[in-house]
Amino acid sequence: MIELISQHPFIAALLALLMLGLIFGATLGFGAVKFAVDGDPIVDQINAILPQTQCGQCGYPGCKPYAEAIANGDAINKCPPGGEAGIHELANLLDVEPIALDDEHGVEDIKKVAYIREDECIGCTKCIQACPIDAILGAAKLMHTVIVSECTGCDLCVEPCPVDCIDMIPVATGARAWKWDIPDRDPTHNANIIVTDNPNNKNGQAA
């Protein structure tokens, strides 16, 4: 061995490098198979941000296809249900500038759910076939109804209904759904929400 190295240093070095190459190559090859990532991770991350309404307003048949399109360079402002907040999140994730929502694909709206006027329903099952997330219950010639907690408000069931018995109604109104707003710069609008005592008052009290 030592003799070989001293006699033919060039061949010995070549052999050593070859051996190392084989070992590392085998390790890398094994790792690539063993720890292979299924699917495209960036698509999944984008898909997690999209609102999953599956409404198709972006022009793609569902959120996943749009996520794939974004990963391939499509614009991030085609999702009205996601709105400004969604665009911001996508911009953060992809490290691009947030852009305004593209009007062509619709405008941001309050969350709505479908409601079937049940005594008008003729049981045609057209809406059931249209619902992308199976949120409508019913059978042929029997009344259908929407599972409110599952409905994403995608609007897709309204169009196919032959008797127009589906309404989109705003979800959760009333005191329980009410929330504080970011305060107005104009204090007269805030007078009834900001009750916190004011430092100016201290002077008033002292006087």
Partner: protein, 618 residues
Amino acid sequence: MKKIWDVHGGIHPPENKSQSLSKAIVTAPIAPQLTLPLSQHIGAPAKAIVNIGDSVLKGQCIAEAVGPVSVPLHAPTSGTIVAIEQRTIPHASGLEDNCIVIESNGNDEWRERHPIADFRSLDKNMLIDIIRNAGISGMGGAGFPTSVKLDTRDDIAIDTLVLNATECEPYITADHSLMREYADDIATGVAILAKIIKPTKILFGIEDNKLDVVEGITAALAEHDFNTLTGLKTEAEVITFPTKYPSGGEKQLIQILTGKEVPSGGLPAELGIVCQNIGTAVAIKNAVCLDEPLISRITTVTGDAVNQPCNYEVLLGTPVEFLLAQSDYQANKSSRLIMGGPMMGFAVANTAVPIIKTTNCILAPTEQELPTPPPAQACIRCGMCAEACPASLLPQQLYWFAQGKELDKLEEHNIADCIECGACSYVCPSNIPLVQYYRASKVEIQQRKVDHQNAELAKERFEARQERLQRLEDEKIAARKARQAAAKLAAEQRGKEDERSVAVQAAVERVKAKKSQTETSTIPTATPVDSDDLVARAVAKRAAQQAEDAANPESKLIRAVESAQQRVTKSQARVVDAEASQDPNLAILKQAAEKAEAKLVATQQALNDFKEQNSAQE
């Protein structure tokens, strides 16, 4: 004296408590109409179990709890249910919600009560059941169902019971007056809590602006033997500490009394601590010992716009305006009407809203007393808010993130730990309503969390649907293929069958041919023929003969000759027979034979004539 700790930050706003403390607690008269919102607590709203027109007695349950985090509701006085409808509720939104409206009949007649002389005979679960059924939720402000808070998990040992008598917010004196006048009831309530929780330490926290009640409370607590109640060595201690807002916050009070900090996003129970308001303790005492549900509370009515500020023991559902009238309210002096204190309260939409379980104060300030805040100016990064924050947050940072709606950053900066005390807004020299930004952002974050959960659910359902559709499509294709294969197989088999059937057909035909051959040689009667067939055949035969006759008249004549010949032969044979057998009809037969012979001659003659005619024509 027990060691006490300090919390970070805090402020010292003018207390303004003396105004409402000059008088003893006044029992407010019964309002003609009581409005009871179904949601006066945190959790699911109660469900009405009475109908319009029903008569109810004082203390009767009128709405039941829905689910575990909910409390029932009871009639505060006897009367009639006049409405179950949407009414303006005491809420920051000023919106309407479902309410039960009772018209009082003035009798204030109790339902049947079953007072328990000695609560010591009851065990933990029975006591918690009583508290749940009495509709008790936290009386300090948040309104969390008390039974849920007391029903601690078995795997967490609770060693400390903290009683919150801090009442750190300016103006409010409900707890102070309660301690002045109901020390014994509070102590009994504490004893019941001790029986339920079995703590080794009972810490009664009072700010040092209420030192006048310490003696009374200490004496009242001394009347109870906590060691036998808990079965442990239990120490009860009244602890006073320097007044500072907001030391009455649950987490802040626990830190002041025990030095332990409730972890971010955690509950005091994780530290082995349960904290209860003293108003809740009195409600528990009334529920357990007197069988009286939570139908009234102590509420402070104060502010410069009322001439007689004081504390009222008031029935729940009493309209704010009714209570204000008792205190000689000057509507023209009042700038706005606040429910709760000046720090954490909210302005109510109108004076008709009712007192609810969490209403500790009605504040009617003048414009001079609580002026409308001046316009907010730019943040100058002075850092006073960070110094004031009792949760050690960075309010100015949160403010920027809230403006930019950077929810992730807000979460990273622990906005969830904000107790919305308003100390930051109070100290801000630029008059920025900081706490409003955090309130809005917290809801936004919560909303986003819910949205993400829903999105995840929708995604699952969408994927499940796609999978199902794919499966159905696959099944359809598979079924079609199977059908095609089956059809092909069937066709092949049919081909084979055709060959076989050709062979069978041939055999049948052979047999038929054989049969017809034999039939011609056998007697026709051998085969059964029905009469219709015979007639038809005869008709056909005749028609054929006529047709033949028409075409060839000679044949008719020939046939006539033939038949006459036959008849002659037959009649002659008969005559021979008759001669042989000596038949009496012999003469007749002979005559017939002669006639037949004559006919034969006639026909032969006719035939000959015809032949001659023909030949002559030719």
